[in-house]
Symmetry: C2
Subunit: 415 residues, 2 copies
């Protein structure tokens, strides 16, 4: 293993960083090192400008006409195509709409309808919970459908795959550990068993290159407010491979998914292609915030993002283990960058207090029960010096025992 870098080497990494200029496009508060972009991405000038234009010019000036003049009605499809580029989806397969939870429902419903004789949905026991809750909800609408979980019913997803499985819902990166799955391999395994697969990209879209088309994925869903920086609660996305479009049916059959939405027909007639996953009228201001961020993403090369992401997370692991290793931190994320998303988690027996102390000192990560301190590294606005400085603060808190102050023990809800 290489030696531990010193500050001069870290500054040199920043100086050589091809993404460095992007940092100035974001608006981050003074004195904060933001390592929670994997929960909520940072604000940018682009986004501010877009929502101001949408509200003060388009809405206020054009009123109802803005649905046409400003292209509001087409945003789900147009932004979907632009987002698609970041996740390896050719145009016409991705739409931006609704929430991640709702889109899970649509994708699972469509998949179940395509496998009517198979009773099993497979998911991960350590998934972000809403995936499981939505899978339960979908299962409840088709009698005899059961949900089987990795880590509960079997050690691994692979062990659960057999010819009774209709669909697998799986995260490309685990929200807690940052473990990265092999999309192509697991998709192949699912297909070999005759099952379909829905990929949850919440922790990979905008974090690393995703290759939905190249992996032969069936469906995918994800949010846009983490690495994609689309704004708090920005609309989610859903992808379906073109080969499945004629077979998509899902019961959230609102007017935006109709073949002729403005003909005001009495009966539902599903639109063509990926539009079948659209339902109701979308939140334009939140959608426009996302557009602002996607404008910025148009300038970004995902390969450069991945290279920096691995370098940032490698650096963090090495510095933490070298300088804080004596203080009870245990790495929970894969050590090999190739198996890791853009985040690093450590276990600490008093992780909650440690994270609260960090946040008070301006290093914002988050805590996941029972003992995980989690740090996300967004290459667009986090630099190598940020990593260095964050570890300085972490070391100080651990060495001095500052986290033991009583006020850090009071629990607060953390999203």
């Amino acid at each position: 293993m290489r030696g531990i870098p010193d500050l001069a080497e870290v500054d040199a990494m920043d100086a050589a960083d091809p993404l460095r200029a992007l940092r100035d496009r974001f608006v981050l508060p003074e004195g904060v090192i933001y390592l929670d972009g994997n929960s909520l991405g940072a604000a940018s000038i682009n986004v501010f400008n877009e929502i101001e234009t949408a509200a003060k010019e388009e809405w206020a000036r054009d009123l109802i006409r803005a649905w046409n003049t400003a292209g509001w009605f087409d945003m789900p499809v147009q932004l979907g195509d632009r987002l698609g580029r970041l996740v390896g989806a050719a145009p016409g397969q991705t739409v931006v709409c609704d929430t991640t939870s709702i889109n899970i429902y649509k994708a699972l419903h469509a998949a179940l309808a395509m496998r009517p004789d198979r009773p099993v949905i497979v998911a991960e026991g350590d998934s972000f919970p809403t995936d499981l809750y939505m899978a339960e909800g979908v299962a409840s609408t088709r009698p005899g459908t059961v949900l089987r979980l990795e880590g509960v019913d079997a050690p691994t997803i692979e062990d659960l795959i057999d010819d009774r499985v209709a669909v697998i819902l799986v995260n490309q990166v685990n929200y807690k550990s940052g473990r990265l799955r092999d999309m192509a391999a697991l998709t192949r395994k699912a297909h070999d068993a005759g099952a379909l697969i829905v990929w949850d990209l919440c922790h990979t879209a905008g974090a690393l290159p995703v290759d939905l088309d190249g992996s032969n994925a069936d469906f995918a869903i994800g949010c846009t407010y983490k690495y994609l920086n689309g704004g708090p609660g920005a609309p989610a996305f859903i992808y379906a491979a073109t080969r499945h479009h004629p077979d998509i049916s899902q019961p959230l059959s609102g007017w935006w998914g109709h073949a002729r939405p403005f003909a005001f027909e009495q009966g539902y007639a599903a639109g063509s292609g990926i539009r079948r996953f659209l339902c109701g009228t979308q939140p334009v201001l939140s959608m426009r915030a996302l557009k602002g961020s996607l404008d910025l993403w148009d300038e970004v090369d995902m390969t450069a993002v991945r290279e920096k992401s691995v370098a940032l997370t490698d650096l963090f692991i090495r510095l933490v283990e070298a300088r804080c290793g004596a203080f009870g931190l245990e790495l929970e994320s894969p050590r090999d960058g190739a198996e890791r998303g853009s985040q690093v988690s450590f276990a600490h027996p008093h992780g909650y207090q440690v994270m609260r102390a960090l946040i008070e000192r301006g290093v914002i990560g988050d805590f996941r029960a029972p003992s995980t301190v989690r740090f996300g590294f967004t290459p667009l606005y986090v630099g190598y010096r940020d990593v260095w400085d964050a570890v300085e603060v972490l070391e100080d808190i651990l060495r001095t025992g500052a986290w033991q102050e009583a006020r850090y023990a009071v629990k607060e809800a953390v999203t």
Copy 2:
């Protein structure tokens, strides 16, 4: 009938209008008379300020912490209660979330689950279509469920109500004609037959006083971007009477509806009360726009809104019939203000062209096929003089035949 008012009388009506000062809180373009607030409400200073605060202060400064510090997570419930006041719902029965279409799905699903042995959903053939499309979608998830329509299967909703009916989905005001239903009477009729009722308030919330609790309604849904001025595609709302809360089950069971959303449990456990209708993470910027508008609504007395609404629509009908009666317009809305929402529709054999000519002259209403020109009157920012001026333009277009210009015949999509 009284005589036709002259301009002096119209100006006197404005001078005596108790809501007149509210007009200055809205941002409307010069030279426009906006009579389409029943499609998309107008922008206001309040809303601009809220989205700027949410984006530039809360998000950019507090980042992930804003979910707590700025109260983002509680907005669906808090805004729901405030909106509830406008539709006659005591606190704890209304949440703001998702879209009208999605909320129809939840309400119908919950109602069907409460009437497992009844196969029929009743709706209106001339409903805004997404209601019917969503009812179809829900019906598809429960084998044997059928959708029966007023005007198709029977002349009236009342004729369709029998002991096979599980739930009735009905608009309080018809989007096209403006016809207002008697909520208390129809709810009683539904209950007498053992059925449940879901009221669609899209064209009444913010347009007139609604009395959900007093009418003993079961469920209600509606949008917030029409008379409530919450912004384009602002999140919708859903209401359930307290007596039904323990029985609510619906399959869009996302983490925001969980009893302990931050405990990250594997299994879904429905939260208490109206939270059971929450699903995924909500679009904060669009939600905050709505908050800005609800701040303004806190100052408004719905009785005054209704009085002005009836006076505006009465004045419009009287002036149009007196001045444009010779030009082929036929009233499609109820003549009696007590039976009418806050809109007026006329049929004209060339309604599409007439409306396009009006819009080009700055009078913005909308067209609904085959022949309806539709005008919405939002008492918060439309005055009596606006009505006078709009009729002047309409009369001129009809008298001169300006609508016959070839360019008005080209069809465009109109939302």
